[in-house]
């Protein structure tokens, strides 16, 4: 059923893909930077500090998306007894963690001119910090548990516990009184953000998604070579 994910077949693609993804990322990222830093307008209330949104929001979106994917892949790996799903999940995690850190740090930098503080124990910030901890525990678990069966079980449990936090992050601004404003972009209803700001935001999101794909491919190839290295020992 999942023969398409077989390392022998997929490596033919994943070994060649990074250079193309890299070129595409550089192009999209440069356009995004120009749009975000020069062409997009300043906000009537926040002035130029609004430009931080173009790195902060995509980083937060991607880190949430990656964690959700890791959970889905870990559960699928467990249900279908397919280790490749775990390998894909493991390869996605470093990019997700770094995007989580970027979201926290750029959010803190944005907080100073906007709220007058670098940090507040606001529901959205705290839940994002908890997500970063889940990422960290997940990555450490892969390093410290040698036994394969154990590590698959433990990492799946970590992701299942961590995914509970994802809807909390998403709805924290609606459920509690937080410093964060409610969502400006809605898929199902009309967004309150102007096109002149939405365009650079979407371009930067595409660039960030391409970067996470690039890191994923490089990490996935590394993991496959690791397995093959062990295979050579057994010959």
């Amino acid at each position: 059923m999942f023969k398409i994910f077989e390392p022998n077949k997929i490596f033919l693609i994943t070994s060649k893909a990074p250079k193309y993804v890299m070129v595409l990322f550089v192009i999209v990222f440069l356009i995004g930077l120009l749009e975000a830093l020069i062409f997009s307008p300043e906000d009537y209330k926040q002035s130029h500090s609004v430009r931080i949104m173009y790195v902060h929001v995509p980083a937060a979106w991607i880190s949430l998306g990656i964690f959700s994917s890791i959970t889905f892949l870990s559960l699928s790996g467990y249900i279908f007894k397919n280790r490749i799903f775990f390998l894909i999940a493991k390869s996605l995690a470093p990019a997700g963690f770094v995007f989580n850190i970027i979201a926290l740090v750029t959010g803190s930098i944005w907080g100073k001119p906007t709220w007058g503080t670098w940090w507040a124990w606001d529901a959205r910030i705290t839940s994002m910090l908890i997500l970063a901890l889940f990422y960290l525990i997940y990555l450490i678990a892969w390093r410290i548990f040698e036994d394969k069966e154990n590590v698959l079980k433990i990492t799946t449990i970590i992701t299942v516990l961590g995914i509970i936090n994802v809807p909390i992050i998403k709805y924290s601004v609606d459920w509690w009184n937080t410093l964060h404003q409610p969502a400006s972009i809605n898929v199902l209803s009309k967004s309150s953000i102007h096109t002149s700001m939405l365009t650079p935001l979407l371009i930067m999101t595409a660039a960030f998604a391409l970067f996470s794909l690039l890191i994923f491919l490089m990490k996935y190839n590394t993991e496959l070579i690791k397995i093959k290295n062990k295979g050579l020992d057994r010959l």
């Binding site: 022998n8 931080i52 790195v55």
Partner: protein
């Protein structure tokens, strides 16, 4: 014009710090991932080179092994 871009009505420090931090994080993650890849690939090439001809033939039957050897400069 250039001053305006850097100063950004007094918000330049915050905006440029956020973008610089993002760029630094991207660069670090890319370098770390690449170093890990190159290390693992070099280990593979070394191990493969140490195999006797019979074992090397068996190993070469797997497409992925051939691909790893040929993609030494692909990333």
């Amino acid at each position: 014009m250039i001053n305006d871009i850097f100063n950004m009505n007094g918000y330049g420090f915050y905006v440029w710090s956020a973008f610089l931090f993002t760029l630094l994080s991207f660069t670090s993650l890319y370098i770390i991932t690449k170093v890990q890849y190159v290390k693992e690939r070099d280990k593979f090439v070394l191990k493969f080179g140490a195999l006797d001809s019979k074992r090397a033939e068996v190993a070469k039957l797997q497409t992925i092994n051939k691909e790893i050897l040929s993609s030494s400069q692909s990333i």
